[in-house]
Symmetry: C2
Subunit: 386 residues, 2 copies
């Protein structure tokens, strides 16, 4: 009886795929499996496109796009690697157009790029992998933000957080980069698993991590009916200044008070850190240097401030190094040596050194990537709140 | 000074987009805005593809794909509508290939289809819109599941849940459909905003809603290193039976105990409901009818069980209608009259009627869509736990 029922169910599956599928999807022919990670850590990518003339694989594990080959039923595929265990964004380039891998459920949340994620596991579990340890939670939160809008936050709470309401935790505010959303530190950076594993190993202090959306102008436009900014950093200088100020104001006036009201938080300066990647690193430095009474630790990933901006806006930070060095438990700067901001970040570190400002730094290989952000987070978060 | 700094920043933006962009993306030329909702509720869609020969818009707001026109710089666009306010999946068909809208951050989480979401607001706010009312929270949870794997859940807790740990809530287990993930009831179905609004209006009882992942076989394969099933319902009948049993077992033995241990829950049968859409509706009926002591309410959206399966497996439910009608506070069945399962669902209702089993039903216009799931959820959830 079950047999008949399930043969019927199987027929329905195909009807259903036809019915609910977005029109224009490949017909419900072969179900492509992609990516397929082989035991030798080579990876086979496949994409069904019978009519395409050229399909290439573009991934951050390769220096340049790799040609794929079509089989008799129109599935293009290629095997690359072995690939060093990590999580990499990738996509297919089909006759010049970038597309996600339709067979892969893991995506890169982004305002512009639509990429998939390849997760190559290590022979021993990597720090960002899901391991058999107590898990914290990720919560999507709404808070009252600037100009009457409602903002969104992704919040990590450590294992056991909700079991003991009388225990209070330090907070790390962690900002993603240009075109990222508030989801990227979770879905691409795997902040939750990195923290679960470090806490289980006794290497990081249990803490709350608050991940805001960096491009609040887009949200303001959306919620107030204004035009969405056509690019994420602003075409007009005046607009860009307003944006930078808006973000810092939102952090200081809305996000921090909301978190401190609604979570079990130690609300002194030394239990409050701020960090960010790329544009989020710039927002981090500006927010922290402009509010030195608010943050005890600063983590800057793949970002810098120019000497001109430091001299014009943040003399308070550099003119009294003894005070700054006392005020800050940690000033962390990290960058990859192939990052297009590497030189500027080195200059920034040189500037701070010249001013006798203490900082800790980590220079890795690689570029301006989410492979590096995980390394930066893993290294710096072990130093926080100790 | 800021001027100079931000002109520099603007240059970096473009460098940065080039640097972090997945290779093969359109160059950082014009920043396309799409979709643009016009005041008359027409919507303009735009897509940059200078080399494409034909670009079409495919959306669940149109009966069939609509041609787009290319301008002199290679941006294809079309204005359609007015469109009835709702949230619709859509994508572009570029020389026969389906792609997401790269300019739109809102996506349809799915194992196969990669669609974007169009949200056309109503003149008065729709029930699924974010309104100025207290907001519940969405939490991503991990729980110990079958075969030593770790499962994932998305959990809605109502406004004020964490403020009063002594208050206990009823729980609604809500399952998505074939190729959906545990995120779809949140990101596409907007369960959180529907609940926030209904609770604020006094129309729904505050409750916890638990949204599991329906395709646990895929997860088992992923976590145990097995091959991923090539299609979501199984090629072998035996495998498919195993899957149906696995899901029910996971719900009864793992998910419910985990939730009742970790949330403030009323754990009697009448405070426990189960519901689902499409494959999730089938999972709902099989889980509930196979465990009539566990659930006081059942919500079946766009799904049915055949007469043969009912007679073979669930005689206990239909042979004593008085007991069943007493046991179930609600048996809800809803379907759209253009759903490809409409006829079978009508037959299912006819079968139940013939057996004197009480149920409430809602037949809407439209098909097997997430526009309809929101209507079904909105209508049925107002009847739960009253």
């Amino acid at each position: 009886m079950f047999k008949k029922v399930f043969v019927t169910s199987l027929c329905f599956l195909f009807l259903l795929l036809n019915s609910i599928g977005l029109k224009g999807q490949p017909p419900t022919g072969p179900m492509v499996v992609s990516p397929k990670i082989n035991t030798d850590k080579t990876v086979t990518f496949s994409y069904l496109a019978p009519k395409a003339k050229e399909v290439m694989l573009s991934g951050q594990f390769e220096k340049k796009p790799v040609s794929m080959k079509k089989d008799s039923i129109g599935i293009w595929s290629v095997t690359v690697g072995p690939i060093e265990p990590d999580i990499y964004p990738y996509n297919f380039i089909v006759d010049g157009l970038s597309v996600m891998d339709p067979a892969n459920v893991d995506y890169f949340p982004n305002e512009r790029f639509k990429g998939s994620l390849l997760d190559v596991p290590g022979d021993t579990p990597l720090i960002h992998s899901m391991q058999d340890v107590p898990h914290g939670k990720i919560t999507y939160e709404y808070y009252p933000s600037v100009k009457g809008t409602t903002g969104s936050l992704v919040v990590y709470t450590p294992p056991g957080y909700e079991k003991n309401p009388s225990k209070k935790y330090p907070v790390f505010y962690l900002i993603s980069g240009t075109t990222d959303t508030e989801e990227d530190w979770y879905k691409v950076g795997r902040t939750n698993f990195i923290m679960d594993n470090l806490i289980a190993q006794g290497k990081a202090v249990p803490m709350i991590i608050v991940m805001p959306y960096g491009n609040i102008e887009a949200r303001i436009a959306e919620q107030t009916g204004g035009a969405k900014p056509e690019d994420p950093s602003g075409r007009e200088n005046k607009e860009a200044v307003t944006r930078a100020l808006n973000f810092s104001e939102d952090m200081i006036n809305n996000i921090i008070p909301y978190i401190e009201k609604n979570y079990n938080v130690i609300s002194d300066k030394n239990s409050r850190a701020i960090g960010g990647f790329s544009r989020g690193g710039g927002q981090t430095l500006r927010t922290a240097f402009g509010n030195m009474d608010k943050f005890g630790s600063i983590c800057c990933f793949s970002a810098y401030l120019s000497t001109q901006e430091m001299e014009a806006q943040y003399k308070n930070v550099v003119d009294n190094p003894e005070k700054t060095n006392k005020d800050l438990k940690l000033l962390w700067i990290s960058v990859g040596n192939e990052d297009f901001l590497y030189k500027q970040t080195e200059e920034f570190m040189g500037y701070l050194k010249g001013k006798n400002i203490n900082y800790k730094s980590l220079v890795t290989t690689g570029g301006h990537t989410w492979m590096n952000t995980k390394k930066f987070l893993n290294a710096s978060v072990q130093l926080l709140f100790k």
